[in-house]
């Protein structure tokens, strides 16, 4: 009979203590999607995540070193939230970490601010220019554009014209206008402030890359039989 009473009180105390602790020392972290850093730098928790915590531990948390960038690291490091929680609980005992949002952060190590070499750029530009010029000529030949335009000329005016330039020159200019319209860029000036399909496409491509990297570069996210 006595024993049961003791356990009861203990149980009561524990719950009480636990309850108080939860109220005081729950911290919330939200991993950032991707961050950039430089070689040989230390990545702190404040760089990797947004933190909500009690004032007296917030500074300590913010300056908690998580990872030191070394030469073995390639230019992409994936830091899993598990590693972050492990570091936090090692430093500050009896703390409850609530994570919100992404479960890993992609750390991109920027080695050197690479300047674009102008000759290289001009080369690529000329390549695209000539390639695109040839491509449109191939397209026109493929769909017999010349004959079609001659016939349109004949339908409208009733006259036969070998070179219906009156139709073809506006057509050629319209070609460029159409491309610019589609991408919503008139030499960097916007027609309206919605993102252009190109920007959306760049964003999607980056997202796909990030998703790939966060799964393949993160050693903990996959386990293979062959001990990978």
């Amino acid at each position: 009979m006595k024993e049961i009473v003791v356990t009861h009180t203990k149980l009561y105390e524990e719950i009480n203590v636990w309850g108080v602790k939860v109220m005081e020392e729950t911290i919330y972290i939200r991993m950032r999607h991707s961050v950039q850093t430089r070689p040989q730098e230390t990545v702190y928790l404040k760089d990797l995540a947004q933190i909500i915590a009690d004032e007296n531990i917030l500074t300590a948390l913010k300056n908690l070193p998580i990872h030191k960038v070394s030469d073995e690291d390639n230019n992409i490091i994936v830091i899993d939230v598990m590693k972050v929680i492990e570091r936090i609980t090692r430093e500050l005992h009896s703390i409850e970490v609530q994570t919100i949002g992404p479960s890993q952060t992609i750390v991109e190590v920027i080695y050197k601010k690479k300047g674009v070499s102008i000759p290289f750029f001009i080369l690529i530009w000329c390549l695209l220019f000539l390639g695109s010029a040839l491509a449109i000529m191939y397209f026109h030949e493929d769909v017999s554009m010349q004959q079609t335009q001659q016939r349109i000329y004949a339908i409208i005016t009733g006259k036969v014209e070998k070179k219906p330039l009156l139709f073809q020159v506006p057509y050629s200019i319209g070609l460029g206008v159409g491309m610019v319209l589609f991408f919503n860029h008139v030499f960097r000036k916007r027609l309206n402030d919605e993102p252009s399909p190109l920007e959306v496409e760049m964003f999607n491509y980056q997202q796909d890359l990030d998703r790939y990297v966060s799964l393949t570069e993160n050693k903990e996210s996959m386990k293979r039989i062959d001990g990978h």
Partner: protein, 140 residues
């Protein structure tokens, strides 16, 4: 005889159905009409745009099959050509976008900031190639 005629009619209808639905499917994949409504903020009129495409295809089909002659001023060809060019240009742009050309290219050569200049290479290349073809390349 009747069977022959009926079969030819049926065949023509079937061919038209296949080509027409293919044309619409192609336009839908490229998303030119949504893009135009987004630019001009005329989402509510999209049904009319749909009929414009259908009507255009019908008139184009009629003109190419029957060869009518309208004896109109040749200056009407200028807006017609410009409109046709814009349409083909948008198709070309949409096609490069579907194929993810620009993002991959810009990323590969580290030119994410200057992507607009790269795009301008495409635009001017198209204009130049087209003009060159019509003015010099085609035989008289």
């Amino acid at each position: 005889m009747v069977i022959k005629i009926a079969f030819v009619i049926f065949l023509g209808l079937a061919g038209g159905l296949a080509v027409g639905s293919g044309f619409v499917a192609f336009l839908t994949v490229l998303g030119i009409i949504p893009r135009l409504t987004q630019l001009t903020k005329t989402m509510k009129m999209i049904v009319w745009y749909q009929w414009a495409v259908v009507l255009g295809a019908l008139i184009g089909g009629f003109a190419s099959l029957r060869d009518p002659a309208l004896y109109l001023s040749s200056f009407i060809l200028i807006p017609l050509g410009a409109a046709g060019g814009v349409f083909v240009g948008m198709m070309a742009a949409a096609l490069t976008e579907v194929l993810n050309v620009f993002p991959i290219l810009a990323k590969r050569i580290g030119l994410e900031e200057k992507i607009v200049i790269l795009m301008m290479a495409f635009v001017f290349g198209k204009i130049f190639g087209s003009l060159y073809q019509w003015i010099y390349y085609v035989a008289d």
